[in-house]
């Protein structure tokens, strides 16, 4: 493997980490309207209270790593998708402050407003991530300098919107399973029902997206001919999706959560396989695409980055482990909760 390929794999790994971890807390936001009263809403937000901030750091690090290792792709994507990124930033700002501000005052109107902000921003951010993935698979028109000059509407084709909806359904399943593990009693029963519904919607959208991908962007499957072993991931993906209802039926919710995590990991992997070795495909002329080679920093920087990641990653995993261990078990509301 060359340095460039290693960095592509590492970027995909960061994205897997982000999608699994922030996936469940975005899902909790999407499911927030299911909470019936203030105690339940507090249970929901406190289930992710100590965790969401650290989860979001995976995205920040992904952005930083893209800037560092593939600056040309970072520059083209972030400037070309200007409005989409500004909207994403608003969603992330509102999410952070709605979690932080919600519990600070007891007025019902204050909390109601932040509940809406939390729901809308979680939904919006998830949909935008999905639309971004859809655009990554479809590619965008690039000019000879590798710049994308289009508007938000160029990014909102039917295929991209479909992937956006798929992400919402996926994170809703994932978030519902997480919340199920974190709650008990009546609210847990309601979440048990919600998982089934969310999973049904997800499965429908998954089938639709698969059909749409194979018919509208057949070139996305080209890599599977070069790398037949990648077909195993497709099998793993299908098995993981199918295992969710089985685990639900057997009431093994922990295993169902692992299965939804595996589903997310497989889907990010398939996305990576669809674009490799491009980072941003030029839809008008594939020769103009930003690839892991022409978009990359110098080899020295790639090596320094690898060293930084190699030193840092064990620490990151340790902190993550400590925090998740400290806050294991059912949510308890105390005076420090949101």
């Amino acid at each position: 493997m060359t340095l460039h390929v290693i960095w592509f794999v590492l970027m995909a790994a960061l994205l897997v980490g982000y999608a699994i971890l922030d996936g469940f807390d975005l899902g909790v936001g999407i499911l927030h309207p299911l909470a019936k009263d203030d105690r339940e809403r507090r249970l929901f937000v406190n289930a992710i209270g100590p965790l969401w901030d650290g989860n979001e750091v995976w995205l920040v690090t992904f952005g930083g790593a893209l800037f560092a290792m593939f600056p040309e792709a970072y520059a083209t994507i972030f400037s070309g998708f200007y409005l989409a990124f500004v909207l994403l930033l608003f969603a992330l700002i509102f999410r952070a402050v709605s979690l932080e501000f919600r519990g600070k005052l007891t007025s019902a109107g204050w909390r109601r407003a932040w509940d809406w902000a939390f729901f809308a921003s979680s939904l919006g951010a998830t949909a935008l991530f999905g639309v971004a993935v859809g655009n990554g698979i479809m590619g965008v028109p690039l000019d000879h300098a590798g710049v994308f000059r289009g508007s938000l509407f160029d990014l909102l084709g039917p295929y991209q919107v479909l992937v956006g909806l798929l992400s919402v359904a996926l994170f809703a399943v994932h978030g519902a399973l997480f919340l199920y593990l974190k709650t008990d009693g009546a609210v847990q029963d309601r979440l048990g029902q919600a998982v089934w519904h969310a999973w049904g919607i997800f499965l429908t959208l998954y089938l639709l997206t698969t059909i749409a991908t194979l018919t509208m962007v057949p070139e996305a499957a080209a890599n599977f001919q070069h790398y037949p072993w990648a077909g195993l991931v497709v099998v793993a993906n299908v098995l993981a999706i199918a295992y969710v209802p089985r685990a639900l039926f057997l009431r093994r919710y922990g295993r169902a959560f692992l299965a939804s995590s595996l589903t997310i990991a497989c889907m990010v992997f398939l996305f990576a396989m669809a674009v490799f070795p491009n980072i941003l495909l030029a839809r008008n002329d594939p020769a103009l695409s930003w690839t892991i080679y022409n978009a990359a920093s110098s080899e020295k920087t790639l090596r320094i980055g690898l060293l930084i990641a190699g030193i840092g990653l064990p620490f990151v995993l340790t902190y993550t482990g400590i925090v998740y261990w400290t806050f294991r078990g059912k949510v308890e509301l105390d005076s420090h909760s949101y």
Partner: protein
């Protein structure tokens, strides 16, 4: 509409709002470590009460810092794509290191710090506080490294990268450590830390002074004020020394910037202007009150040595003067004020009269605004003084170490020889002008739209921050922690929840 100007306005707006919070976090983090350390050592409940109270306010500041910080990371790409292509290879490593080494550390242990009081023992809690404080300091290291590289680049070379019709340059790393320890990193980092300590200390002294004036939570407020006063006094004095060293360093590596700070238009004896308003067209300071030779003395320990002026900088390379001149003076004026204020308070504290000197406590209630302004003004001077460059090329030096002049008598900036993909070589400047750094694909109306949106959201955020901060201050610290208070708080939370559910029910029925 001018995309460059609008993008600069947006960057200034978003970075200045963001930068209200990180120095607070860094400064308060140190105080939190002190309070929890003292609690572990003495087991006096008052320290725990104080740590718990300040942690809540710390968490609030931290959350807004995080929310507005992501904006900064994305903005390099959205608004400054050409800049990102130019600096990605060098700047990106620092940013990635910040993510891996600092952000994970901060965000992970912040969870334990804020939510973990009843879940981990006091030692583990202290350790978490220490890690969050270290994380915020690590974070400042990498971002100051990146910014200092833009001021005094080192450890890289310029290469041409081009595709299609594009002909772009970029800086590539040759030595990571030369990049990290570029000529201004260490001094600027020390200065930024001290400024953050000053702000954190003044923030805590402000709230404590208010409690003392209102005769509320006095024991707690006295303890907090005393701890913060020690940090504030030492930092205020130290920052003057750091600033003096840094001024010399700026003059050596970025003479144009120092000339802008001091509105030193003409090369010759440097007078130190105390008051005045620079007129850039005429090249004079109107209403100038100056110490003759003061600037020469500060830079050379001699009142008559000539100081390089803006007349030695090519007209197209001259920074604007008004903003750097004024903000530099605001920063130094406030800094000197902090020394006077903290020393006076420290003397009164030794004599046991500080907490009875009400007028001085009132000054401390509002002095935190000054500390915020000083932090902002320092950065405004540093960044506007670097213009028109976003990455300033190093000055060429003669054998005597003095800046070399070109045939027209202007200071020479370094150039680089680059080989284009087609094999032709040419000379290019070793820096990047701000005007050339904006995104190719972004238009004026788009940036105007995002400025409007950011403006509205940040106004809202700032107002809410004040509301919640005020609420926390009014509520005050909880009485010393005992078993059972949690259950009470939980019961109270349950009642609140009950009430909300009743109103929710009514809303659904109506």
């Amino acid at each position: 509409m001018d995309v460059v100007l609008l993008s600069r306005i947006q960057f200034a707006l978003t970075i200045m709002f963001h930068y209200l919070f990180p120095p607070l976090t860094i400064g308060m983090g140190v105080v939190l470590v002190y309070l929890e350390g003292m609690y572990l050592k003495t087991r006096e409940p008052i320290y725990e009460t104080a740590a718990r109270f300040w942690t809540k306010i710390f968490a609030l500041n931290f959350a807004i810092g995080v929310a507005t910080g992501i904006v900064m990371e994305f903005e390099f790409g959205t608004n400054w794509a050409v800049y990102s292509r130019f600096v990605g290879d060098v700047f990106g490593s620092a940013l990635a290191a910040e993510g891996i080494f600092a952000f994970f550390l901060e965000s992970g242990f912040l969870a334990v710090l804020v939510f973990g009081w009843d879940r981990v023992g006091p030692r583990m809690h202290f350790f978490s506080t220490l890690m969050v404080s270290l994380g915020s300091i690590f974070s400042s290291i990498w971002i100051v490294v990146a910014n200092s590289w833009q001021q005094t680049p080192a450890g890289h070379h310029i290469v041409a990268v081009g595709r299609g019709g594009a002909d772009l340059l970029r800086a590539e790393i040759t030595s990571f450590w030369a990049l990290v320890f570029n000529p201004s990193t260490v001094q600027r980092l020390v200065h930024v830390w001290l400024a953050a300590f000053v702000l954190g200390a003044f923030f805590i002294m402000s709230i404590s002074a208010w409690y003392l004036l209102k005769r509320r939570h006095e024991a707690f407020a006295r303890r907090s004020f005393s701890g913060a006063l020690l940090l504030g006094t030492v930092s205020s004095v130290a920052i003057l020394l750091s600033g003096h060293q840094q001024g010399r360093n700026v003059y050596h590596y970025q003479p144009a910037k120092l000339a802008a700070f001091e509105a030193h238009f003409t090369t010759g004896r440097g007078d130190l202007s105390i008051f005045g308003l620079p007129d850039e067209q005429a090249g004079v300071i109107r209403g100038n009150v100056a110490i003759p030779g003061g600037l020469s003395f500060l830079l050379y320990d001699d009142f008559s040595t000539p100081v390089l002026g803006l007349d030695r900088i090519r007209p197209e390379d001259r920074p604007p003067v008004l903003i750097p001149f004024l903000s530099y003076r605001v920063m130094i004026g406030l800094g000197v004020g902090f020394i006077a204020l903290t020393l006076l308070a420290a003397i009164l504290h030794r004599r046991g009269r500080l907490f009875e000197t009400r007028w001085l406590l009132w000054v401390f209630v509002f002095a935190v605004v000054g500390a915020m302004v000083a932090n902002q003004a320092g950065w405004a001077a540093a960044e506007v003084g670097r213009q028109p460059w976003v990455v300033q090329p190093p000055v060429v030096r003669g054998a005597d170490g003095e800046p070399a002049l070109d045939a027209d008598g202007y200071v020479r900036y370094e150039t680089a020889t680059v080989t284009a993909p087609d094999g032709t070589t040419r000379q290019v400047t070793a820096g990047l002008k701000t005007a050339d750094a904006v995104s190719e694909a972004v238009s004026g109306p788009q940036v105007l739209g995002s400025i409007a949106l950011f403006g509205v959201i940040y106004l809202l955020l700032g107002a809410l921050w004040l509301v919640v901060l005020n609420h926390k201050i009014q509520t005050g610290p909880e009485p010393p922690h005992e078993h059972g208070t949690d259950d009470l708080a939980g019961a109270a939370g349950g009642l609140v929840g009950h009430r909300a559910s009743m109103t929710g029910l009514r809303a659904e029925e109506s």
